[in-house]
């Protein structure tokens, strides 16, 4: 028996059991102590400054946000090329930046998060703006805002970020601005600001799946404003070919002016910022219909939903504020004044604890990024970045 026991304790099996037991105990002890241990956590994000041709890498340590690097972007020293949209790929190795101004087409630039140096680039459409990478296809979908063009249908560029090839352009509406990919990576949603439509693109089939008119039926009957009439009058004076005129006549001037769309992370719903109608529009993605509308302050612009699906955060651009709604009952939980004017973009930490808000400022004022706690709804910290801070993207949380 004794021999058997000695054999047993010398055996590989016993050592394995012993090792496993020790590890198990260590894990249990760590779990017990975990609430009492303080881990140093840092959050990293990128923000683009459209009027300074810079991108800032920011670090937030739960108390203070700081700029740890300012990266010059663009090619021409005498012209502002307008870095507008920014996104980090799902594996965090690269960040992508859209440069709005070109001759005339804008560009997509790929940077390494390790070095913040350019890896590759490709040409996109006119004034490329917001973008995101689908986890299922690996492709990047970027809307071409065409801010300066005539009100004709624009498009979404689909780029393979591996080869940095623009593989196709998918025609959508007039001035497509906000865009996001569905959580399953199968659909890209974008809103066309001037034609007031929501577009669903099949990320695999690379074609438009569905289009939804976002105009409120009541609003549709409103008379055109004087400004719009002036615009139409001016158009009459313009020298245009018949096709273009026809195309413009077919384009309506949206009263809603949707500027952003964000699909819910868990539910078949999407939320849209009605920048012109001062409202949030909820869309039932299953039935493809507007399921709710609720009022906001003046000029809601960008929207994001916390990854846990509980909060909807929106910038109220014209008021320089950030609004936070609870998505269970769509009640406004907080409305905070941002540190400077022209609230713009939103990035939310992966743990749903913090919202990072970019604000543009005016003229020579710097852009500012505010950090808002999504637990206390208080502004915690702010940092100055380049002028006209806009596109903002969360990179990583590091322990």
């Amino acid at each position: 028996m004794k021999i058997k026991f000695e054999k047993l304790i010398k055996s590989e099996y016993f050592r394995f059991i012993l090792a496993f037991g020790i590890i198990k105990k260590v894990i249990i002890i760590l779990l017990i102590l975990s609430p009492h241990l303080t881990f140093s956590q840092s959050y990293y994000l990128y923000v683009a400054s459209e009027s300074e041709d810079t991108v800032s890498l920011l670090k937030f340590d739960k108390n203070q946000i700081e700029e740890i690097e300012r990266i010059s972007v663009g090619t021409f020293p005498t012209e502002i090329e307008g870095p507008h949209g920014i996104t980090v790929d799902p594996n965090g190795k690269y960040w992508y930046l859209s440069l709005a101004h070109g001759n005339p087409f804008g560009k997509l630039i790929k940077y390494s998060t390790k070095t913040n140096k350019v890896v590759d680039e490709t040409t996109l459409g006119l004034f490329p703006a917001s973008m995101q990478i689908s986890t299922i296809t690996g492709f990047l979908y970027c809307v071409n805002f065409n801010l300066h063009g005539t009100m004709a249908p624009s498009n979404v560029s689909v780029v393979d970020p591996e080869t940095m090839t623009e593989i196709t352009k998918i025609t959508t509406g007039s001035m497509p601005h906000g865009s996001r990919i569905s959580p399953d990576g199968l659909y890209q949603y974008s809103v066309a600001m001037m034609s007031g439509e929501l577009f669903e693109i099949d990320a695999l089939g690379l074609k438009v799946n569905r289009v939804l008119d976002l105009e409120n039926k009541m609003m549709k009957n409103k008379k055109m404003s004087h400004k719009m009439m002036d615009m139409d009058k001016k158009m009459d004076n313009m020298k245009m070919n018949k096709d273009k005129m026809k195309s413009m006549q077919n384009m309506k001037h949206s009263m809603v002016k949707p500027t952003w769309v964000i699909p819910h992370p868990n539910l078949k719903l999407a939320y849209i910022a009605g920048n012109g109608s001062n409202e949030i529009i909820e869309v039932d993605l299953e039935n493809w219909e507007v399921s709710d509308r609720f009022k906001t302050g003046k000029g809601p612009y960008n929207l994001e939903i916390s990854p846990n699906g509980e909060l909807l955060i929106g910038t109220i651009k014209s008021e320089g504020k950030t609004a936070i709604w609870g998505l269970k009952d769509k009640k406004l939980l907080s409305l905070l004044k941002n540190t400077t004017s022209i609230s713009h973009g939103i990035a939310i930490s992966s743990d749903s604890k913090y919202a990072f808000i970019s604000s543009e400022g005016i003229g020579g004022e710097p852009g500012i990024v505010d950090v808002i706690s999504l637990e206390t709804f208080k502004l915690i910290s702010s940092v100055e970045v380049g002028k006209q801070a806009g596109g903002i993207a969360f990179w990583k949380k590091e322990i």
């Binding site: 502002i80 101004h101 801010l147 543009e360």
Partner: protein, 692 residues
């Protein structure tokens, strides 16, 4: 712990195996198509254990991207077929999207070769007859079976009678003796034969005459020739071939120049021989070329410093009160500065205007000096457009109105002409300029628009005599009638007259001028190129040059000359009395003599009168010259510099004295630096190094 590591490695290796060792196999591999062919690709995934499976979705695309759609090789989304449009080797990428890829990318690039279809015929252009001693010029192209024209195939040329027409190296045809020969051109199995008759050279003597035998570098001489037969009768209708050789007066320099269309110009001083030949009859003449000798001293009179931010364009004008003023734009905070430049040695900042913008890129003042227009980019409301100012009193500038319709993307450049503002919407598609009537400057009204083709670019505009000259990057120069009447244009109905594109594709600015000395009409086109990219906060390299295009015949423009300073590109420029005042970014202000006919490389010809680097040690980027614009105004040269604000230069009548420039140093500095009283002592000192 060992077991734990083993366990983890096992888990990771399992995951690794799942994600790796999968490849896409496809019938695209090694595929060869002919133009016009279509092909249905079939691809599947091969796993490491040899099994194959289909992909849930597979996407094919041309690696060259969307701009090549319809141009090289594409996929028809309706049929899924690959269509070959252009010859060459094309990379077709197949991306497999499948949940079984564990989130890993699975793609493969296949090389697909597209060939031309067979040659069907040869298009040949060759003279039917020639004269002994001449080379016979010819050109050809081939046509494929599906009708495509090719210029890339090399023909095999043979002669039926080599003693009459010989095929020399590089397929050159030399007419040696009188007679007839059949010349056969063969390519890709297709032959074409042409009979060429060789006559005896009728030319017995050839006289060459040049307009001047003693010229300066850069002077263009016309070459005249007369040919006679044996009887001394003049022969008409034959064109001789011209050539030249020369010897530079400077032993370390080589004689160079250009001979083109019966004209000769030399770059370097020396003795040149110009030859004219027809067959084996040649005649020569000598030309003595001396230095152009136009160099002058240039001095800086004063500066209007802007060191805390970059400066952009500037404009200098005589105010309503008879005093002289300037206005300059800036980057970053929407400021425009107003200057009193009446005393160029004492430039004073007298007012400023701040608008909602990040960049005031361009500034212009009306001819009556009452209205100034400044551009806006980066306005907080994104409406941008332009601001109209009352500058009747430049010490108290007032905003009259703003105009944003159609210009919300930002206005980069403007011009004021005859109560109208011409404002560029550079970033739209189509690119365009808007025409705004400012007869009532408080109520500007849009009256017209000029649009370029979709995908074109527009960057700058200059107006002279009712004609707008727009600079359009790759799309070159557009000349547009906006009231001259030459094409029935008006401000409300701009009509394009001509377009001139050129190879560098970087047309940034244009300036038209009529040569006072020759009456020829030129447009100077400048390149803006940053070869190494750009850093806003350190010095930058530029390249490119000024193109001189003879537009005397608007329908037949000819690029005749260039001004290129190696290492320096161009930005904005001004021409007055046959002198160009060019802002050449890091090359500073360059003053160029453009008198007389222009041909060849003006810089090499010594036509540069003076150069001045406008950077400042206290500049936004210290000691970094980045001259933005130059304007000749009341005998002085005013400029703006990106890093230093504005300034005034004066061209002196005196010539630079370089006679002392090569002296090593003064005796005083030798004593100070080396403790040597003179050079001999210094050399002695250097020969005896100190003992350590």
């Amino acid at each position: 712990m060992k077991y734990l590591i083993t366990l983890l490695l096992f888990i990771f290796s399992f995951q690794f195996n799942l994600s790796q060792n999968q490849t896409i196999e496809s019938n695209l591999e090694g595929l060869v198509l002919e133009i016009g062919d279509s092909f249905t690709p079939e691809s599947f995934v091969r796993t490491s254990d040899g099994t194959q499976r289909d992909c849930q979705a597979i996407i094919y695309y041309n690696k060259k991207g969307v701009f090549n759609v319809g141009g090289s090789i594409v996929q028809d989304p309706s049929t899924g077929k690959i269509i070959a449009n252009e010859p060459g080797e094309h990379e077709v990428v197949a991306v497999c999207v499948d949940s079984r890829n564990n989130g890993n990318r699975l793609s493969q690039t296949f090389l697909v070769t597209v060939k031309f279809t067979k040659t069907k015929s040869i298009l040949l252009d060759i003279e039917n007859e020639t004269f002994t001693g001449n080379y016979i010029p010819y050109s050809y192209s081939t046509i494929t079976e599906n009708g495509l024209k090719r210029n890339d195939l090399i023909v095999n040329v043979t002669s039926s009678s080599p003693e009459i027409i010989n095929v020399e190296s590089n397929n050159l045809l030399k007419a040696s003796n009188k007679g007839e020969a059949n010349i056969t051109f063969e390519v890709d199995g297709v032959k074409m034969t042409k009979k060429v008759k060789v006559k005896n050279n009728p030319v017995s003597s050839l006289n060459i005459r040049i307009s001047e035998t003693s010229i300066r570098t850069g002077d263009v001489v016309n070459i005249e020739t007369k040919m006679y037969d044996k009887k001394g009768k003049k022969i008409e209708g034959l064109a001789p071939v011209f050539s030249f050789h020369g010897e530079s007066f400077d032993g370390s320099n080589s004689a160079s120049g250009l001979i083109k269309n019966n004209k000769f110009v030399a770059d370097v001083a020396g003795l040149y021989t110009v030859n004219a030949s027809f067959g084996n009859i040649t005649s020569s003449t000598k030309i003595k070329v001396t230095d152009r000798d136009v160099k002058k001293n240039i001095v800086q009179l004063g500066i209007g410093s802007v060191f805390d931010k970059p400066s952009s364009d500037a404009w200098f004008f005589e105010g309503v009160d008879g005093k002289d003023y300037g206005v300059s734009g800036t980057f970053f905070d929407g400021l425009a500065y107003f200057w009193d430049i009446s005393d160029p040695k004492n430039i004073k900042k007298i007012d400023s205007i701040k608008v909602d913008a990040r960049i005031v890129n361009d500034v212009k003042v009306s001819k009556d000096s009452k209205i100034c227009v400044i551009t806006r980019e980066g306005a907080s409301n994104r409406k941008n457009g332009l601001i109209i100012l009352d500058v009747s009193n430049p010490s108290d500038v007032k905003i009259l109105s703003e105009y944003t319709d159609g210009l919300t993307g930002g206005v980069h450049n403007i011009f004021i002409d005859n109560n109208h503002v011409y404002a560029l919407n550079a970033f739209g598609n189509p690119s365009k300029f808007e025409v705004i009537n400012i007869e009532d400057p408080k109520n500007p009204k849009g009256v017209g628009v000029f649009e370029l083709e979709l995908g074109s670019a527009i960057h700058d505009i200059w107006i002279e005599d009712g004609i707008a000259y727009t600079s359009n990057w790759k799309d070159g120069l557009y000349i547009v009638d906006i009231g001259n009447g030459i094409a029935g244009g008006s401000p409300s109905n701009p009509v394009a007259i001509a377009n001139y594109k050129y190879k560098t594709g970087a047309n940034h600015a244009a300036f038209p001028f009529k040569s006072k000395s020759t009456g020829k009409f030129y447009v100077v086109l400048g390149d803006e190129i940053f070869p190494d990219g750009v850093d806003f906060f350190s010095s930058n390299e530029t390249t490119g040059f000024l193109h001189f295009v003879d537009f005397s015949d608007l329908k037949n423009p000819k690029e005749v000359a260039r001004f290129e300073v190696p290492g320096y590109g161009s930005h904005n420029f001004w021409v007055e009395d046959d002198v160009v005042y060019a802002a050449m970014y890091n090359g500073g202000v360059r003053v160029i003599d453009v008198s007389g006919e222009l041909l060849g490389d003006l810089y090499k010809q010594g036509r540069e009168i003076a150069a001045f680097k406008t950077g400042s040690p206290n500049g936004f980027i210290p000691n970094s010259t980045m001259t933005w614009g130059a304007q000749y105004f009341k005998g002085n040269i005013f400029y703006s510099d990106l890093n230093a604000g504005i300034g005034a230069l004066k061209l002196l009548d005196s010539k630079p004295d370089n006679s002392k420039s090569m002296q090593f140093t003064t005796d005083k500095s030798l004593d100070l630096l080396f403790g040597a009283k003179n050079l001999i002592e210094l050399f002695e000192y250097l020969e005896s190094p100190p003992i350590e």
